[in-house]
Amino acid sequence: MSGRRALDSGLRLEIDRIACDAYGTCAELLPEGIDLDEWGYPIVAPGNVPLHLVDHAKRAVDACPVLAMRLVRAEASASVPIPPPAPVLAVRPDRTEGTPPWPPRPQSRAPKRSPEDRRRR
């Protein structure tokens, strides 16, 4: 898919995994960056939120019924010394292999997302 390269907003999505209760609102409002796994929990695309999607990201954060999502400055967390990850044996993308990263800014109207959702209850 060709498009103008998406500008980096310097913000990234952070999820409180304990508070998250698989409501799935975030994936509805930001399908470009959030998918739901087979149990209804979010898989977030790696990296920062592109600039053209920040408003949608804010809306997705706002729409979580349990306030489990936040938008944080990417640099802020880099300054905090984080222990290196435990045995790095599995690749740790936040998204399943094969799913595309954040899409570039569309030239024209993006196609509607097809309603493939299975009912998860």
Partner: protein, 415 residues
């Protein structure tokens, strides 16, 4: 094998008394020397021994930088990894070394309070530490400022040893991980900056304070310097061993009396770790930096020889079941993901696989990690991924032919 932490009487002799400890190691250094302890730890290059391997000096520095004399130091002796025994052995036989490290850390970061966090089932370790604290109260030396040291005993569980879980238990009696940020070094016990440090790391720090960074760096055969405790199983001499970092797996196998053929699978790091196998594997040095370069890790120093006679698929399935049951039940991807992994791998191991079980296991080994509040799902799926790689042929045989190549017969539940 080099003995430093375990120098002196054998661990089987029980806890070393305060008198013997002081006679053997001498006094702690004076105040001026102690004020340089954090840079000394940095130059020694001491890495944490709890599993993450984070530089100890840097960790102490980040707490010291935030504390205003009100920090807390927590010695992590929870040891929830079933294959690891080194912390227990260290606490039970060298309690004064651990408490030395605790008090030095408290002084260095400006702490007013210390906690010894010991798994409730580690009775010997706990008794040794409590007796040691009583001995020190009775024979209070003037060297270090006195701070209250309490003992916290969480139920032994895999997640209880996690940093935020330790803090949560001390704060609220709940040994389950919490969401970070804020991390313990920012806001921990009682909302104060808290240093959570493995007991072995504290013991090393106590020796470095006495003997210096150059002394510490004399040991070590590869890039990483110093010694470390490892728990070895699978041979005729299982137990806790102190090795120079960089000692190869093959050398450890010799010491432990391992009869399995060279190149047979070895589990490094514990249930949280990964498998290595093959002709070159036993030549790998047990060095955190080198192992990371090979896609595996030193972790909590577990070296478990799996042997040629055990079915790797069955062992992996059992471990996955254990990990799934250890979940704190707080995060969906961990609970449902690990349960799915455990169910599928149990079916494959016992010869009753569903058609897509193996394919889905491969998928789950990648998709669950990083989506929980703690690193339990990462560790479990990391082990799964390495098992799928090392025992690839066995997994395929179980899945597609329902045959176990080890037992040379139909795959079924072991009685």
């Amino acid at each position: 094998m080099t003995a430093r932490l375990l120098d002196g009487p054998a661990p089987s002799a029980g806890a070393e008394s305060l008198g013997d400890h002081r006679a053997r190691l001498g006094d702690l250094p004076g105040r001026t020397e102690r004020s340089h302890l954090i840079p000394l730890l940095d130059s020694a290059g001491l890495l944490g021994r709890g599993g993450a391997g984070f530089p100890v000096g840097r960790k102490w520095g980040s707490v010291a930088g935030r504390a205003k004399g009100d920090a807390v130091v927590l010695a992590n002796g929870a040891e929830g990894e079933p294959l690891s025994h080194k912390d227990r052995v260290l606490m039970a036989s060298r309690p004064h070394l651990v408490i030395d490290g605790l008090e030095l850390a408290a002084e260095a970061v400006g702490a007013r309070r210390a906690v010894l966090y010991v798994g409730s089932e580690h009775a010997q370790a706990r008794a040794a530490l409590e007796r040691a604290l009583a001995e020190r109260d009775a024979n209070r030396s003037r060297t270090l400022p006195r701070i209250p040291v309490s003992v916290a005993t969480p139920p032994v569980s895999y997640v209880a040893g996690e940093e935020s879980a330790a803090v949560h238990f001390v704060n609220a009696g709940d040994p389950r991980p919490t969401t970070v940020p804020p991390r313990p070094f920012e806001k921990g016990v009682g909302g104060k900056p808290t240093l959570v440090q493995n007991v072995e790391s504290l013991a090393h720090a106590a020796l470095i304070a006495r003997f210096g960074d150059a002394w510490y760096r004399e040991a070590g055969q590869a890039a990483t310097k110093g010694t470390a405790l490892v728990t070895v199983t699978g041979g005729t001499r299982p137990g806790v061993l102190e090795i120079e970092l960089g000692t190869t797996i093959g050398e450890v196998a010799q010491w432990a009396g391992v009869v399995a053929g060279e190149g047979s699978p070895v589990l490094l790091g514990g249930y949280f770790g990964g498998l290595v196998a093959g002709a070159d594997a036993w030549g790998l040095p047990l060095d955190p930096a080198v192992l990371r370069g090979h896609g595996t890790a030193f972790g909590a120093g577990v070296v478990a020889f799996m042997g040629d006679e055990t079915c790797g698929v069955t062992t992996t399935a059992r471990i996955m079941d254990y990990m799934a049951g250890s979940s704190a039940a707080q995060c969906g991807p961990c609970v449902f993901g690990l349960r799915s992994v455990a169910d599928a791998s149990a079916r494959v191991a016992t010869g009753q696989p569903r058609q897509d079980d193996l394919a889905r296991l491969r998928g789950w080994s990648q998709s669950i990690a990083g989506r929980g509040a703690c690193r339990l799902p990462d560790g479990a799926t990391g082990l799964l991924a390495s098992s799928l790689r090392v025992y690839e042929a066995d997994w395929a045989s179980h899945q597609h032919h329902r045959r176990c190549s080890v037992r040379r017969g139909a795959a079924r539940a072991a009685s």
